[in-house]
Symmetry: C2
Subunit: 582 residues, 2 copies
């Protein structure tokens, strides 16, 4: 238990050690960020041997806790230059937890041109030559690894983008359906893995192994309360029926749906790409409108898109992907977007970063807004590593710099998600201040501003947004540490006391601790404290906690609003004071 | 006197004002950096309307002081993200001073697609439409402006690189020979000018006007001492005979001549491109081995390269350009390098940044080291604004990121000059700590480490390098404020007391002040203090005061040395404590 597997690609050494005593019980983002803070020199080259890729299942991953299947992948980011936790679903987190592995640390760099695959089993871990996988897309890699292994495949892999060290390169995780359609997308984690010369990590069969629980009965009771609470919520129901694409209609309705590179908050083609349409087309063609893409998921927001013949195209065809490559590029063709999603997954690219990069390229005139074939051509350029593809694949900020575009929607070099910060002010506060760079999962402001969860926060009124964005970030960090899906945040917000109590009970039953709800919140704050300290040492100051200028000066249609939160308020968002001594 | 011309491209407004009382007497880098610190929000978009381009002649510019013809061009840099003073010779600084202009401040941004030319005369300044110059190279712009004006042309202009907002874009200044061959090359000042929609600034005839002197006789006396001191020095004589290319032999001899993207300190082709060869070929073909490229220059280090038919190709064909595009790219063909220099000047590109960018592209395999035609092709790509050209034209760091290269010789994103920091440790300290990013003119360590000036500082011994690099940076900032050429630093180092006294006497005779040599050094320190404060607010911390990792781990042939100055020593280099109250 509490195995730490350490892999050094410089000398091809694999070793195991116990997790340091003071880190026992930690998991997910709390563990990746803490290990990075301890072991990675903040000023190091993100693509060099001193950076480390740290992979950790959440605290509750592998247990029966509903929606606990999230994995944290951390490193110093080649995109933001700061610490990164990129969170991914699929079947890896539970598998890793059941293998008894608390953390996998990948360090060093292989000699240029070398390529390896790491195989992790209950008995140990082993590096094997991976030259045969070089240049393959994630779909082909997974297919070959499936043949080379036994049982259900569970693996992480990178595509050509990661091999080319692109700053938008993702790490794919196998979904429960066996496809590499879940991605640790944000911050170029795939480039870090590529720079280490690691093409894939395969997690062997656990043969019925379970995560140890100190008090199984107490866990079962708490898990039941938790499961009921998550299950019985209006947003859970909506996600199950219409998936994340359902978000589009609501965000467009409030005028915060970024369209054509954040030049409008409403998209005239929204109904062609929103949840109802995605649902209807999939249903008509015989695809899956709902499935559990992550181990232990009871929400089942995921889907499988099929073509007109009913053949599988892509899965986890999500709101953010459809938005970034759709409305944000002026594209309203779901079949083209599904093909784009498949290409992104196969090449191993962050679908948001890349969609925003294409939109900025369209603003520069490289292609026209609305040109779906043009967007697909650009992705082919990325895959082929042409100069234009290198620009696109290195992210939105690089496209802006290359083509001299001023309207570039990034914070800390990372592209925003599908919520215009002028139309949902709390989201802007989150984008600006998250140690992750612009990130919607680190601070999901539509919850109370659009979706009607808990108390209403007016998305256009500055009052209270700072406190709101602070609370959201603390909760997000806590959930990322626990390995819980961010979609439990909706039922949790509506059942705060009961939900936090159930979570604390599960953690305590697993670990034999006596943590309170407050302790869990403090866990979230500590994650953020650790990340901010790292970022400061890496050279990211309050100057990086700002939105691009055009959000402050250019009025967003239809509400004609700008981002109006003063800088000094942004500076105070994550100023919690020192940690509680415990 | 002390005119400040303020030009706002947003509303096409030109106004004049007096220099604030407390800034009277300041000039050059002291004035550009102070005005930027006061007026430019440090976190602003360098290509946005809130950035300002500030142009100021040195304190002694326009007077009879030997080698006082240097101009400071400042802004927040789109390359480094920090404050920038880019220094340039030619005939502009003296002209501007004689027009009674202390500073020219360009702010705002023209509507996308608009292009203007600013005409400055004794009577006023005027913005005129500049559409007819769009897309032209600097040579054509200057030729057309010459026809549109009277008297000897004195102007600043940008080429296509500046119009495309490239981070390596320079601002060309007319040399005394009328060609746009002197460049404020570093830090993308041409992109800032391009983003403002300003193609050129023409400085009208001064018709015999002189700079006001409080005590003409005292000035004449001091200027004579100064002139004799500069004139009678062994390095002045060498520069006059062989120009800056003479540097190559000495730097190669000590094993610090960066070759093939900083992979060796010696270049097998050095004799084909060093000073003696440049001198011999020019002489044989009937070009100019020596001329005064800057107003008031008595050193005359500049040259004019001609082709085999004796036709002009380029001028100011300098060591750094020949090195960056030559040895650093494995190219030893002077005619190809002269053509490259002409292309760089015409397109308006920093020759060092671009040469280093090409070398990194060669390391990535985009072209082969040694392929002169390939380098020329890459410059054509830049000129044409192709995706590959956009990558190259945005500088060395962008090339490294685009192509996933780890060996990228930049600090604060700016490329190093022709002195490997491992082979001349003091130069490495300067590269790391200068607020300008890697910059040889901000801290020219070969002086005492290679050229035998003043006391010897062993280039390979860490001891004393920090103090040496500190003193050099203070002197460089002082000279940049005075408008003096950095090449006076050699005679000054060998005649410290007499030289500083002559400078102080000239300044006092001009301004009616009673400054001491110590006050002048404090002026230099104050410039650095101001710049560091700006950079911190812009988000540049000590984490940016580091060399790339490979200089710390990869041994440089032939001496097999790494850069060995500890980080805590780097952190102390520019820590002067608070300013002296005066």
């Amino acid at each position: 238990m509490a195995r730490v597997i350490r892999v050094d690609l410089t000398d091809l050494r694999v070793s195991e050690e116990a997790l340091p005593e003071d880190l026992r019980g930690l998991g997910g983002r709390a563990l990746t960020s803490e290990l990075i803070a301890r072991e990675v020199p903040p000023a190091c080259d993100p693509l060099g041997p001193r950076n480390k890729l740290v992979i950790a299942p959440g605290i509750l991953s592998g247990t029966a806790a509903a929606n606990s299947g999230r994995l944290s992948v951390g490193a110093k980011s080649p995109l933001t230059g700061g610490i990164k936790e990129s969170n991914v679903g699929g079947n890896v987190s539970a598998r890793l937890a059941r293998l008894g592995v608390s953390a996998l640390i990948v360090e060093g760099t292989a000699p240029v041109g070398a390529m390896h695959v790491l195989w992790v089993s209950r008995d140990g871990a082993e590096l094997r030559p991976g030259e045969e996988y070089r240049g393959l897309g994630n779909y082909d890699v997974v297919e070959r690894l499936r043949k080379a292994s036994s049982g259900t495949l569970s693996c992480l892999s990178i595509g050509p983008a990661g091999e080319m060290f692109m700053s938008s390169a993702s790490i794919a995780a196998t979904s429960t359906n066996g496809y590499p359609s879940r991605h640790a997308g944000r911050g170029g984690m795939g480039a870090v893995m590529g720079a280490k010369g690691l093409k894939a990590i395969v997690f062997g069969d656990v043969q019925g192994a379970t995560v140890a629980l100190v008090d199984k009965d107490a866990f079962r009771n708490a898990a039941k309360i938790w499961s009921d609470l998550v299950d019985d919520h209006v947003i859970t129901e909506a996600l199950r029926e219409f998936g994340t694409p359902n978000t589009a209609g609501a965000i467009d309705a409030v005028g915060a749906y970024p369209t054509r590179n954040f030049s409008s908050g409403k998209f005239e083609g929204v109904e062609k790409i929103y949840g109802q349409t995605v649902h209807d087309v999939i249903k008509e063609r015989g695809g899956k409108i709902s499935h559990a893409g992550c181990s232990g998921c009871i929400i089942r927001c995921s889907n499988e898109w099929v073509d007109e013949r009913g053949d599988y195209v892509t899965s986890a065809f999500e709101y953010e992907t459809i938005w970034a490559n759709g409305a944000n590029c002026g594209i309203d063709d779901l079949d083209a977007l599904a093909r784009i999603d498949r290409m992104l997954d196969d090449c191993g690219l962050d679908s948001m970063e890349t969609g925003c990069a294409i939109a900025v390229a369209m603003e520069a005139g490289v292609r026209e807004f609305g040109d779906a074939s043009g967007a697909i051509e650009l992705l082919e350029e990325v895959r082929n590593g042409t100069p234009l593809g290198r620009i696109i694949g290195n992210g939105t900020a690089m496209v802006g710099r290359a083509f001299g575009v001023r309207r570039v929607p990034v914070v800390k070099n990372q592209a925003m998600a599908g919520y215009d910060p002028r139309g949902i002010l709390g989201q802007g506060v989150g984008y600006a201040t998250s140690p992750m760079g612009a990130d919607h999962t680190a601070c999901f402001a539509p919850a109370q501003s659009v979706f009607g969860v808990s108390e209403y926060v007016d998305p256009l009124k500055p009052d209270g947004q700072v406190e709101y964005a602070r609370a959201l970030q603390v909760d997000a960090a806590m959930l990322d540490a626990l390995g819980l899906c961010q979609f439990v945040a909706f039922p949790l917000a509506d059942n705060r006391v009961e939900g936090m109590s159930a979570i604390a009970d599960m953690v305590n039953a697993k670990l034999g601790t006596s943590l309170t709800s407050d302790d869990l919140a403090e866990l979230g704050r500590n994650v953020l404290r650790t990340e901010i300290v790292f970022n400061r040492a890496a050279g990211l100051t309050q100057a990086s906690n700002r939105l691009p200028e055009f959000f402050l000066t250019e009025k967003l249609p239809p509400h004609k609003v700008v981002f109006s939160i003063p800088e000094e308020e942004l500076d105070a968002v994550l100023d919690f004071g020192p940690a509680k001594s415990t």
